[in-house]
Amino acid sequence: MSDNSGEGKLAVTSSPEGLSAAGDGARKASSPARRAGRTGWGQRLEIALLAGPAMVMFITFVMLPVLLAAYYGFFKWKGFGPPTNFVGLQNYLTIFKDSTFHDALMHNAVIVVLSLLLQGPAAVLLALLLNQKMRGRSVVRVLIFVPYVVSEVIVGTGWSLMLQTNGAINDLLIKAGLPSWTVDWLSDPKIAIWSLMLIITWKYIGFAVILFLAGLQGIPQELFEAAAIDGASYWQTQRRITLPLLGPTIRIWAFLSMIGSLQLFDLVYIIWGQYVAATAGTSTMATYMVVNGRNAANYGFGNAVAVVLFVISLILALTYQRFVLNRDTEGALTEGKK
């Protein structure tokens, strides 16, 4: 932003009139100097006053805890008093040797991949379909967004009631003449992860669809007209024009979805609780962290798990940004501007 140089010049030439016009002399006299490029004391004070509170809050409650997690992770510590029992990397060794952590990591990986594969194509197709002139378009948009707005606790409570062995889903299957399809949706380890995926898809697909619909609206109309003149079919147009131009939106969504899947906690903890998630095959790194850290009063260990979770997320995010997202700054975006 080079707004200061130009504006500075203008302020210097124009401020005498401003000075004589308004009464508040002392404050205005300092303003040309303040605006002429270098940061003056008055401006520093303004910066500190305006940005200071946000910085303090952010550093105290976001940055500091993350750094503290890295520090506490080296201790065997019950969470009371200053951490004393330094154990070095032992917590980390325990984590990497623990097969329940391997399971949790595996579940996270499955959730990341399945979320991308199930939600992505479905949401793109739905967005393409809904991006048409139809009656009640805005009503549809609002209603498919409802699951996203309802809290995880309500989603978890409602779905676990519906999915329990004698719940509504199995009852509907029996009524539909498919009694052999009834299963233990929540407790069978082969099935529970799919039930979780069902709930995740239900909750978050509206968000993806709305995002893609927004992306579709950003595509310049001339492209479709040109394609129509060139005699492209509907599907050709979608494949050659819509999908590539929707690319940036899809890649952003995929990024948010991956990070969200790695951090998944609420739904699993609410539906399966702290004891059942591991045996049902739905535990995640975050539930592992809470169960073996906080609930076991083993805070040093919990912090080490947090660090592992953070490092995995960070590596994934940076790799993704490096190899996928930065294409958007050159390829897709400039293409869109043509």
Partner: protein
């Protein structure tokens, strides 16, 4: 996150739609099915609250034979429910105010001041997007406990404000930058200081962006589960999400009442959403553009 940009100042530009194909009956069928799948479970929860427990046990997916209002009226008469509602309201309102006030002030500095370290400051906030609360939750709990704020709503509000700041700033900075320079120059000519410009021009002009950010902060606070789970141990200080879970655990055999409690606790979020639905969806459309 590079392509996140602010919604443009004039709303008319986002409303332009590409020429769309006319919807066939397939579209209507798919749309109808999708809507059914999305709101079906929500309706199931609401209707379930009107049934009796024996009905739910015998016929879990049926309609109520007689509509029981008693489950709902009992929840509405319980003081616990209302205390949890008011706790959630307090958390949501103060979080929103904090996010808006701190976010606008910091975004203004980042958007309109030229100073050493500005890029570093922006990068710091942007990096906050990479620090989800899950990672920080254990030390955060210890920190809040050290401040003596466990079982205190302030212990929820302060971290929520801090964690909402990165998104807020990333949405608001381009928004504040988009305010034409001429306005600031005109204000300077008229003798307004930077702060005067901020209070008289920037705040009124940034209202649409601020509303979007505020709604996001409020809904996030309203639905927040993990932070209250760590910070609040005393039932008197529970917010609604914790309350729903505690109620479901305590009355696990009384399914109808659990469903009624759950339904009632989602009403505020749904009302809030339907009031501001245009701004939420519009904000998303503006915030994430290809």
């Amino acid at each position: 996150m590079a392509t996140i940009t602010a919604p443009p100042l004039s709303p008319s530009t986002t409303r332009k739609r590409p020429s769309l194909g006319r919807a066939s009956w397939v579209t209507y069928v798919v749309a109808f099915a999708l809507v059914g799948v999305c709101i079906g479970p929500v309706i199931y929860i609401i209707i379930g609250g009107f049934r009796t427990n024996s009905e739910i046990t015998k016929d879990p997916s049926g309609f109520p034979s007689t509509w029981q209002v008693v489950n709902y009226s009992e929840v509405l008469q319980s003081s616990i429910f209302w205390r949890q509602v008011s706790n959630s309201v307090i958390c949501g309102v103060f979080t929103t105010i904090g996010v808006v006030v701190l976010g606008v002030a910091a975004s203004f500095v980042l958007a309109r001041y030229n100073f050493w370290g500005r890029n570093a400051m922006y990068a710091l906030f942007a990096a906050g997007l990479m620090f989800p609360m899950t990672v920080a939750i254990t030390p955060l709990y210890i920190l809040i406990r050290g401040l003596g704020l466990t079982d205190n709503l302030a212990g929820i509000i302060l971290p929520q404000i801090a964690f909402a700041l990165p998104t807020t700033i990333i949405i608001l900075v381009p928004f504040l930058r988009a305010i034409p320079k001429e306005l600031e120059e005109a204000a300077a000519i008229d003798g307004a200081s930077r702060l005067g410009f901020f209070f008289r021009m920037v705040i009124p002009l940034s209202v649409p962006g601020v509303v979007t950010v505020g709604i996001l902060a409020f809904i996030a606070s309203w639905n927040s589960y993990m932070l209250p789970l760590f910070i609040l141990n005393n039932e008197g200080s529970y917010t609604l999400p914790l309350g729903v879970q505690a109620f479901a655990a305590q009355y696990s055999v009384d399914t109808a009442r659990v469903l009624a409690f759950t339904s009632l606790s989602m009403i505020p979020a749904l009302v809030f959403f339907s009031l501001f639905e245009r701004r939420i969806i519009g904000g998303l459309s503006g915030a994430v553009k290809g």
